[in-house]
Symmetry: C2
Amino acid sequence: MLEIPESYQRIVLAARPRGPVAAENFRLETMPVPQLADGEVLIRNHYLSLDPYMRGRMSKAASYAASQALEETMIGGTVGQVVASRNEFYKVGDYVNGMLGWAEMGVSDGLLLRKLDTTRIPLSAFLGVVGMPGMAAWYGFNQIMEAAAGETIIVSAASGAVGSVVGQLARLRGCRVVGIAGGPEKCGYVVNELGFDACVDYKAGNLEADLAAATPDGVDAIFENVGGACLDAALGRTNAFARVALCGLIGGFNGADMSIKNARALLLNRLTLRGFIITEHMEYWQQGLQELAVLVANRQIKYRESVADGLAAAPEAFMGLLHGRNFGKQLVKLI
Amino acid sequence: MLEIPESYQRIVLAARPRGPVAAENFRLETMPVPQLADGEVLIRNHYLSLDPYMRGRMSKAASYAASQALEETMIGGTVGQVVASRNEFYKVGDYVNGMLGWAEMGVSDGLLLRKLDTTRIPLSAFLGVVGMPGMAAWYGFNQIMEAAAGETIIVSAASGAVGSVVGQLARLRGCRVVGIAGGPEKCGYVVNELGFDACVDYKAGNLEADLAAATPDGVDAIFENVGGACLDAALGRTNAFARVALCGLIGGFNGADMSIKNARALLLNRLTLRGFIITEHMEYWQQGLQELAVLVANRQIKYRESVADGLAAAPEAFMGLLHGRNFGKQLVKLI
C-alpha cells in the first residue's frame, strides 16, 4: 500500500497573459482526492514537465491545438506512481507517464498512460530524453534533417531538452555538430559534456560571424527551436539542398520579431523547410523511444535537468524557461 | 537553302545594375557570322525568352549559378531554325530550342539543343508553356504541391508564364484555384480565360481580406513566384500540412522587402516549403514536356504572350517584366 493523501494541489490558468507570462496568470488550488470509478487509476505525480508549447496554449490565438481552458488544470506531461487502481492493467506501485497536468495527483482511465520501466532509466528522464522532447529530436533528425555522416548541422537552443538530443544523435551518426546557445556556461556544456564540435553564444553579439567561423563547409541541415535571428544566421550558412526542421519558435514568445529575413536563401539554396508537431507522428514513437532508451541506458546520450521544487514553484520555473534561464530539461519535482 | 546573313546582332552585359536594371546595363553589338567547325550547326533565332532568373545572373551576388560575364552575350533561351549544319543529326530547316542568348544567331555543337515538332504547337510556345516556365509549373505542382481534387491552391503572378500553367494544371485536377495578379485586366483574364475560380488583385490594396474571401476553406498548397506580402498573405490562409512550392521571389528584384513575416504559420500549420530550380530536375523534363505538349495541342491549356519586336527592344521588355508590365510569357521576336 502506498500512502494516499486526502487532498492535493493543482495550478489552474487564472487569466490569459497580456504580454509576457506573469505569476498572476496562475492560481494554486487545493482539491479533494476523487473517488475512482471502475477502470480508473489514481496517480501520484512525481515530476511535472514544463515545455514551451504550454505558452501557446495559454493564449486564445488560433493554434494547432485548443486553448487551455480558464480555471482548469494547466496542461502538462507527468510521471508518477499508481497509488490506487480499479484497472486490471495498472497495479499499485506501477510507474506511469501521462498528461495529468500541473497537479500533484490525477485520475486516468489508463488509455493514455504509458507504463514505465525504471530499472535502467530514471523516472524523470521519461519526461525528457526518453519522452516528448527526445522524440521531437529523434523525428526531426531522422525524418526531416536526414543528415549523413560528414555533413554539418546547426542546432539552436542546443543545451535544451530537444536540442541536446538532436546534437548527440547527429554526433553518433558522424556529423559535424554546431550548437547555438545563450551564454558561455551553456556553450561550454554543449561542447565539453555533450560533445558538439562547436557552440556559438548568441548573447556574445557576433552570431553571424561566429556561426560562419564554426561552419567552414557551410551547413546541410538545421534544427530550429528559436527562430528570428538564430534562424536567419543559420539560413545564411546553408549549402544547396539543405533541410530545415522547424520544431519551435520560442524566441517569439517574448515578443521578438520572428520574421525570416533571409527568405532568399530558401530559394537560392533550394532548401526544404518543414514545421512539425511531434504528437502528430505517433507512428514513430515506439521505435524512437526504444532507440533513445537504449542510448540513455548505455550512456551514449547525456542529459541535464533543471528541477524546481514543489508545485508552487512551477509558474516561476515556467517563466524562466521562456527566457532561457533553465539549463537542460525543466522539471518540477512534486514529491 | 535558307538565307544566311553576313552579320547578326547581339546584346552583351555592359555593366552590372546598381539598383534597378537600366538600359545602360546593356549594349547592342554587330557581330560577323562565324564559320562552323565540324559537328556544329548555325541557328537563326526566331524568338528569345525573357525570364526573371536573368536578373539574378546580372548581379555579382552569390547565386546558385555563375554570374553573367561582362561583355558576353546575355544568357537566354531561344527557339530558331538551323540555317547551316556540319552536324549529322541537325538538318538545315530543323526547328530547335537552345540557350543561344540575346542574339539573332548562334552556333551550337548540338548537345544542348532540342529538336522541336512544330506541326501542332507554335514555335514560340516551346519557350513558354512547353518549355522552361511550363516545366517549372509542372514540377512544382506535381512534385511539391501534390494538390488533390477538392483542395484549394493559391498561385501568385497568376497571369504569368509559370503561374498560368500551375493554375490550369490544378483546375484540370479538380482543385479550387485562386490566383494573385496585378490589376483588373490580368485578374479578369485569369478567371475568364484561364478558368481560375478567383483572382485577387494585389494592387487593389486589400490583399489579405480579398484572399481570405476567395479561400473560404483555407489553402492546401501555394505556388509562390513573388514573395513578400503575397507569400505572407497566402501563408495566413494555410490549412494544416499545406505545401509551398517556392519558385521565385520576383518582388525582391525591385528592392521590396522579401521577409517572411508569417514564420509562425510555418510551424503552427506544419507547412512544408521547398525552393527549387527547374533546371536541376532534368529527369522530369521528358515526361513533363510531353504532358504539356498534349494539353496545349488539345487546347486544354491556354497561354498568352507579350512579344517585343526586334532584339533592340529586349532591354526595355526585360525591365517591364521585372515590374510586371508584361502580360503572359515575355518574348522578343527576332525575325
